[in-house]
Symmetry: C2
Subunit: 231 residues, 2 copies
């Protein structure tokens, strides 16, 4: 195994409490008092349907930032929020660039980097990945994933374009994710698969504690992964 | 200015003495005794004509590694080298992944990274850029350039796709290069331009000591650039 590819939202960063925190910081001063976690969940619920329009060819590929913005404008009325300034909307949308990593991630990646090439293979766009990396010290060799492939996971070309960028056969690469569906799609492309348990991704006790599909390795966090891979 | 884009061959790495050294290390044990610098020059001389075939649409886009390989097979007979094993040819071709940086580059980039997003905007492919970064401690935020754009510099889309990947207007980005032709093309796309003098790129005293086109800034090396930009 020569490269490790990482899912990011949920696997490396805690999007739910980060979005709740960012939304509160931006909207409270405007006089709004929402259920911030419910707001984060509602925004995230729009994620797969929006990407599905791209995957199905209904709309052309666009950056995830653009889908997030459209989804944001769709859900704000449901929470009684209207009339936000363009600057505020833009800032709120960039909350996805300011997500915090799970605590095991920075030390785990630092260890894994000693032996493996590391890249995110996420549906997030390049600039979003760069901002998360700067904030959380992710030591990427390159930013791969949806924007490079021009389509969204779980489309095969997203995984395969990442292997090709590193000049590696799929069997020399592993996809690391907290979501069995992502790993199943990667395995179908010939990649090895590593499941990371993120028991609280969708709230306390709401996350995959173990894979629901066969995987090559299942770990509790990236420190355990580094130890199991001998680095 | 928010991002600095870097030309790599010649600007950051000393391809000529590196290729001469690598070729000698690989071919001497096979009994060959060439003029190693002349060999490096001959290989590099094939670089622009090969890319021109892609830029002109004569052949589809392929990674620079593939062009380097074709160019290598073209020049070897001229130096009386024949019958190399496939493994040796492959290793020799990957000499471009093992180039050494000019000494000011690692400390210069480390300082520049404090204030700017940094990416290579090179004609080299992603895996080549990753290997050079690992070897020389280039602290890239992302690998941009030809492979992302699907075409070769000086085509405008290579510069513009890099700006777009970072969500930046061209005027918020600067191209840093030791070659006036690269800077002229970047300026035509609206980027700012910074010339770095590499007086010995093509051998002692054979390199651009100053730009032959108008630029925003001209420096002797990346340490001076960091100082001039206040980092």
């Amino acid at each position: 195994m020569q490269a490790l590819f990482f899912d990011v939202f949920g696997t490396l960063v805690d999007w739910r409490t980060s979005i709740a925190r960012e939304a509160a910081a931006i909207l409270r001063p405007c006089g709004h008092a929402l259920d911030w976690e419910a707001f984060a969940d509602a925004w995230r619920d729009q994620y797969q349907p929006a990407m599905e329009e791209v995957r199905a060819g209904t709309i052309p590929f666009c950056k995830l930032d653009a889908l997030h913005r459209r989804n944001l404008e769709r859900i704000l009325p449901r929470f009684g929020v209207a009339g936000l300034a363009e600057e505020t909307l833009r800032d709120l949308n960039l909350a996805w660039h300011r997500l915090a990593a799970w605590p095991d991630v920075p030390p785990g990646l630092a260890r894994l980097r000693r032996r493996f090439r590391l890249a995110p293979v996420s549906n997030g766009n390049i600039s979003l990945m760069v901002d998360l990396a700067r904030r959380n010290q992710f030591p990427w060799d390159a930013i791969l994933g949806a924007e490079i492939a021009g389509d969204y996971k779980p489309k095969p070309r997203v995984y395969l374009s990442a292997c090709a960028a590193f000049d590696l056969a799929p069997a020399d690469c592993a996809m690391v994710a907290a979501h069995s569906s992502d790993l199943a799609a990667a395995a179908a492309c010939g990649l090895r698969t590593i499941h990371v348990a993120r028991a609280n991704e969708h709230g306390p006790g709401k996350g995959e504690t173990e894979p629901t599909v066969p995987v090559d390795l299942a770990v509790a966090d990236l420190e355990e992964l580094a130890t199991k891979l001998g680095v």
